[in-house]
Symmetry: C2
Subunit: 502 residues, 2 copies
């Protein structure tokens, strides 16, 4: 046991307390806070963020981290402690690069930005949001420049924050490969546009019944309501105070059944990751999913590889029909399974099908690179957005609400985050392929037995939190590092079969 490490603990505990308070306020703002609260609340958020910052970024912590980098000290640390020191050293370097007043001003800005975006989206009023977005971009670029290492691309600074080691040099060819495989596939499917109908998923579905079914689904995949809650927000998300308080939200539309259903499975996958973190490390700097990509792999594994499979729905479809008899009684199991995998270029990322989804990310990735590395004007972003949708997907957003205003990420300062979604899908495909080699996954799904899958993921992925990175987790679990080929062959096989392509 390291005495130096023990000296670090009070700082970690205090940092977690601030984090918990800020997470709670942020959750509350996004779910239930009254509309006019934000102005005054965001002042408090600014002050608390300032305190949080100073708890970790100070001379004492700096000296402790330096001392703990000594090989003898390292040798005395446990596996988890080593992870904490490594993570904190990185975080220290990134945070210490930013002047405290600027960091605090940025946090205050973010607290105000969310409702501005929400209102702009509701009212299709990009102009009212653009000045706030401009300020956020200004801060993000400035901060990235502070953190930039010699020779490092500015956008790579942001990517590294969400997925260590992933760079434009890796992502550009990754997306190129995807494009090469998927463009012809999507083209073939467009030619068979009416081959699969999902019209019956867009009847009127009573929202209270949707809520009840989504609650059931969350529990079904293993979400523990003794250690988590489900709320509502404009855009579904997952957040956690610690591994005993994990929160997901959903968003319900009367005229769409699959929206809420696959959102709850998606967020549920995120939540299982956070609920599965070891008690030993919860509330520490490594007490959460190791990266955004790995996090998305868990949500997408549940949403797509598992949640859109016929085997998953075999024990469930009857129950869904019972919940919505008027709407689904005459829809066969086969029709349902095909409909939930229906592929068609569309406008809204979160409602996109599994096949065209990567294009939504590709578009954001390309725009983000321009925003961060280039000098694109905020005012011209909607046009750029629309042009790319036209180009890649052949669809043109009729309003900014259905275009550039659809995502909350940029309003939260999350640039460099979007690529993680597709990395997540690729990792999910790799993990699902591996799962099938170690257990009868499809048989379990047919039996409604979700436990072995969750327990395996818990043992191999969840419990480590940030003590292992993505590559280490994949290597230890599958014997292979990240390999996107599983993703491409999965999509190709699945959609060729589904649309009976030659």
């Amino acid at each position: 046991m390291s005495k130096r490490f023990d000296q670090l603990k009070p700082y970690l505990d205090k940092a977690h307390a601030y984090n918990l308070a800020l997470t709670m306020i942020s959750w509350d703002n996004s779910t239930i806070a009254p509309p006019q609260a934000i102005e005054l609340t965001s002042k408090a958020v600014g002050l608390l963020s300032g305190e949080h910052y100073h708890t970790l970024i100070n001379e004492d912590v700096k000296n402790l981290l330096e001392a703990l980098s000594d090989p003898q000290e390292q040798a005395s640390l446990t596996f988890s402690e080593k992870g904490i020191v490594k993570n904190l050293t990185k975080e220290f370097r990134l945070l210490a690069a930013i002047p405290p007043e600027e960091f605090q001003a940025y946090q205050t800005l973010l607290a105000k930005a969310y409702p501005v975006w929400e209102k702009a989206k509701a009212e299709n009023d990009y102009a009212s949001y653009a000045p706030v977005l401009e300020q956020i971009i200004h801060f993000r670029k400035k901060f990235a420049a502070y953190q930039q290492k010699e020779g490092q691309k500015l956008y790579d600074v942001l990517l590294d924050e969400f997925e260590e080691g992933f760079t434009v040099e890796i992502l550009d060819p990754f997306f190129a490969k995807l494009r090469e495989a998927l463009v012809p596939l999507v083209q073939q499917i467009r030619e068979k546009e009416d081959f699969i109908s999902d019209d019956f998923l867009h009847q009127s579905f009573e929202i209270p019944v949707q809520k009840e079914f989504c609650h059931f689904l969350a529990e079904y995949i293993g979400f523990d309501f003794n250690r988590g809650i489900m709320g509502e927000s404009e855009h579904p998300f997952t957040t956690e105070l610690h591994n005993h308080d994990v929160r997901i939200t959903n968003h319900y539309s009367e005229n769409s059944l699959d929206g809420a259903i696959f959102s709850v499975i998606h967020e549920g996958g995120h939540a299982l990751y956070e609920m599965g973190i070891d008690d030993e490390i919860t509330g520490t700097p490594i007490g959460h999913g190791t990266s955004m990509g790995m996090h998305e792999s868990q949500s997408r594994l549940y949403e797509n590889n598992i949640g859109r499979s016929p085997e998953f729905w075999e024990p469930l479809y009857g129950k869904l029909q019972e919940a919505f008899p008027a709407q689904l009684a005459s829809v066969t199991f086969d029709q349902f399974c095909r409909a939930i995998n229906h592929a068609k270029p569309s406008l809204i990322r979160t409602e996109a099908d599994e096949l065209t989804y990567p294009f939504h990310v590709m578009i954001r990735y390309e725009i983000e690179k321009l925003i961060i590395e280039g000098s694109v004007d905020t005012a011209s972003l909607p046009a750029l957005w629309n042009q790319k949708y036209q180009e890649y997907l052949g669809v043109l957003p009729p309003t900014d609400t259905e275009g550039i205003l659809q995502d909350m990420h940029w309003a939260g300062g999350d640039f460099g985050y979007f690529p993680s979604y597709v990395l997540g899908s690729a990792i999910a495909a790799q993990i699902f392929h591996h799962l099938e080699t170690v257990m009868p996954v499809k048989q379990y799904l047919k039996e409604g037995n979700m436990t072995p899958i969750r327990e395996y993921l818990n043992a191999q992925v969840h419990r480590f939190g940030g003590a292992k990175n993505t590559q280490e987790i994949l290597q230890d679990m599958t014997g292979e590092s990240f390999n996107p080929d599983y993703y491409i062959s999965y999509l190709t096989r699945k959609y060729s079969d589904l649309y009976q392509l030659s």
Copy 2:
């Protein structure tokens, strides 16, 4: 403008930020947090409370407050600033008397105590709650002893925290006077027990419809949902982050209509006070209701003097009948108005009628005096409780759930709080009497015009927050200091008329 006062501001702002975070976490715990979250969350609460404490209790603030007590400095302060300094000086004296570690341990204890009480109440298991209650009492007595002035009674220290200047010496005769007037009145009414029936209020009332009607009622009396929200908890309460985020909760029972209805009017009255605080002082130490008694006067004025009057229900009863046609179609307006004022000795304080309510408080007052000044054993409290209910009200709680476990107050450390409820009723009667001299109150109620009443209370009571104390507010508004006679004559006249007593 005082430069010294400006130096105080950063401390006030930071204290408010901590307060906001702690209030938010507490609200969340009482309304939506998952059952198993509390253990880990309470650690963070303990740490944040410690930080909050040190923000105000330190040498800098001490020196600033001393400097600001100088007459020349005082002369340079605005009215609000003077109030802040006075309030903070008192709070400083009270808090500084408590060793920081003990204060923090106490906060951690309180965060854990709430769910323990909640579970004990649900399971009628006083024994599981007694050890926690014992610890809370231990802390409260110890803290009161730290704060005690020479010659001051220990219980007076606690009373003073909620209602400045009110002591056992004032309250003992106050309760004696009430007893003298009300005991014969209650006796006469018991003899006419069947004169008024409220059976129809205890049919089955659909909870979603109750919720909708309560939401409407809150809005009707002036609760602004742009600056507040309504949640659910075991016991209804009001809390606020600032004057733009005021939160009330309600509790719904299927077999009781008046419970939820009068709770929402009651908490709504509290909320109007907090929403009415001046922007200038919100978030400062005087940015909330001046005392518990004055706070209760607002909730009880709305709940009883206004909310139980026929005039209030004249424009509303039809709407209530529409909400519950099966249950209320055959109930006349007169029957309804009599039923909601029905008086009958009962077990649950929050469900007690206006007339027997003071006895519930009297019992708690007498037990609290014994707990704090005497040496009563925690184990013997349920028996003592039951004995007093038998003695004063002639009813015996069949379970502790309906007895000593019914209130959350002691689990929150609030000893000395209960008397404020009856003081509040007395102040409400005095204010209502005054209102009738300055405006046609009953006419406004008949017209469904709640605005003039709210605006008058806002101008005379709400906006000042803690810048005026109870006596100052009453004196400035009514030309008279606190006078309990209005309360006694109000109850006597109202119930003599209602029960047609000779």
